[in-house]
Amino acid sequence: MNPRPQLILLGVLIAGLVASHFLGGGAEPHIPALNSYYYDILIGIGINVILAAGLNLVNGYTGQFSLGHAGFMAVGAYASSWLSLTFGYALGSGNVATTTAFLIALLIGGGVAALVGLTVGIPSLRLRGDYLAIVTLGFNEIIKGVIQNCEPLGAQRGLGGMVQHTTVFWVVAFAALTVYTVVSLVDSTYGRGFLAVRDDEIAAEAMGINTTKYKVLAFVIGAFFAGIAGGLYAHFKQFVHPEGFNFLRSVDIVVMVILGGMGSTLGVCFAAVLLTILPELLRYVSKVEALPDWLQHIAENRMILYSLLLIVLMLTRPQGLFGGLTFGKKERRV
């Protein structure tokens, strides 16, 4: 691969560090022009890149259709928040100690999400296409339902009070790590397995590939990164609510993957950026007085546009908007 992905990763991390230094963290960035609104969008882009790149491994490269990614995000968000709230001060105070605690909480959150992904994946990945979509959707609802009835996690009230640890650096770092992992994985022996499962499950099985193993693996890795994204989200907003991880949030992520082109990591990252900015643009459009009323209303309701986009895209360009874009050398497409 040319240039080497490790170097790109390193470059992105350094860029993130520099950016973080200039942008600062929290509500008071160092550059006055970048107010907290834009800062919010910036963090949102990073989190969505992590979610979409992770889901792309399942929906794009392995050819399964998961519709419950927000459920794993919820698991990671709640697990890491609970850890932060309960054991956050166990490592003492001070910059290094709290950051270590935050990272540990984040990783455990991702781990718990991966574990849930494993328990969900083993039974449901024996199913194909349509069934899998409904079962993962069902699991998303079940996870949400469990949280809503779980008193230590705040039940219907949501969970809040975490310290804001998520900065631009951490978001960029984890987004880069996710993309790096996905790209390297797809280029490895495992990646061949994923693609074989996607292209023809029966043929792959006949070649001696354990298709269930590869499907579950992709699913667990996707869930892990969703958990990390959830943790970052929770430690940025400092408040999580079960309704924030509903079916529509899952659809958001799926739209990013489809729009970007299933099986094209770079395209999916572009789509994640685009679809994070789009609602804000639409909000702006809906306030322009010169436009007719109905256009303003449609701009307010972004889901109408998203759904139309899905239909039109499938009818005219099923490989997605950026389906041909790749990192370095040519990746395989659907």
Binding site: G63, F65, L67, P123, S124, R126, L127, G129, D130, Y131, A133, I134, V135, L137, G138, F139, E141, I142, G145, V146, Q148, N149, I202, A203, F247, V251, V254, I258, H297, I298, N301, M303, I304, Y306, S307, L308, L309, L310, I311, M314, L315, P318, V334
Partner: protein, 308 residues
């Protein structure tokens, strides 16, 4: 005992509605081998069609609430839904018929989201109260029947179950006794062979969508008679549960969908009555997962070998 019977009756009435929706899922799966995600939203459109017919056109649909008015609203709403179903198939699914299944699935999800959000945009997101097209009342059970007289059975429940049974028999007649039904069965058996035998596949698929959507429309009206509060998102939950019902009965199997619908209604009523209404949805999804793990072909479905 009385409480248990009461839950069964409530479950039966709710289950009839799931059964009607599940039939649409199962028939479309039978001929095209894909799940029409937007089917639950056609059910919602049926309810709204009834709302506008009864509320805005009272002079056309006999002013006084009663059986004639109910029948008129029901049949018109079914027709409207049938047309909507045919149009959706023609615009969105037909151009994709030779494409990978995933493409069709994503399109179906897109159609579903579009109907929900366009519904919120056009009808308004707030729940609407469905006009009274028939005056609901409790049916008296004579004292002489003993313990059973303690039950509460409402007129709407009788209508829901009665209309459902009628529609099921009508469907059975269409599928088993008419030429179109024979073509549907042929198509679900083998589409290529059917078209070689002179079956016009496009017409049959359109007919299937129309039939399924009409049943969903009927379910929308029947549900609104029982619980007169409708909103543009009512199809999401009902659609998912009806899908679970179709899988439970064996997807592609018409009697299975009816059986599955009634079973899901009963399970839901019993869980809500004896455990907690909070767990109603989770248990229904639990049933789905259990069925898919233990017997993916459903209760009445036959297993199908995939040929390479």
């Amino acid at each position: 005992m009385i409480e248990f019977l009461q839950q069964l009756i409530n479950g039966l009435a709710q289950g009839s509605i799931y059964a009607l929706i599940a039939l649409g899922y199962t028939m479309v799966f039978g001929v095209l081998r894909f799940i029409n995600f937007a089917h639950g939203d056609v059910y919602m459109l049926g309810a709204f069609a009834g709302y506008y017919l009864a509320e805005k056109l009272p002079h056309l649909f006999g002013g006084e609430p009663g059986y004639t008015k109910t029948a008129a609203v029901l049949i018109t709403a079914m027709t409207i839904c049938a047309i909507i179903g045919i149009v959706i198939e023609k615009l969105c699914y037909r151009p994709l018929r030779s494409r990978p299944k995933l493409t069709v699935l994503i399109t179906a999800i897109g159609v579903s989201l579009f109907l929900e959000n366009a519904g919120q945009f056009v009808f308004g997101a707030d729940p609407k109260s469905f006009p009274e097209i028939i005056i609901d009342r409790a049916i008296e059970i004579p004292e002489s029947w003993g313990a059973v007289s303690g039950l509460t059975i409402t007129l709407s429940q009788v209508i829901v179950v009665g209309v459902t049974i009628f529609l099921l028999f009508a469907l059975r007649y269409i599928v088993l006794k008419t030429r179109m039904g024979m073509a549907m069965r042929a198509l679900s058996f083998n589409p290529v062979a059917a078209s070689l035998m002179g079956v016009n596949n496009d017409v049959v698929v359109s007919f299937t969508f129309g039939l399924g959507s009409a049943l969903a429309g009927a379910a929308g009206i029947l549900c609104s008679i029982q619980q007169p509060s409708i909103d543009p998102l009512m199809g999401v939950n009902a659609g998912l549960k009806a899908f679970v019902a179709a899988v439970l009965g064996g997807i592609g199997n018409i009697p299975g969908a009816a059986l599955g619908g009634v079973l899901i209604g009963l399970i839901e009523a019993l869980v809500a009555g004896y455990i907690s209404p909070n767990y109603r949805d989770a248990i229904v999804f639990g049933v789905l997962i259990l069925i898919l793990i233990v017997k993916p072909t459903g209760l009445l479905g036959a297993s199908e070998r995939e040929k390479v």
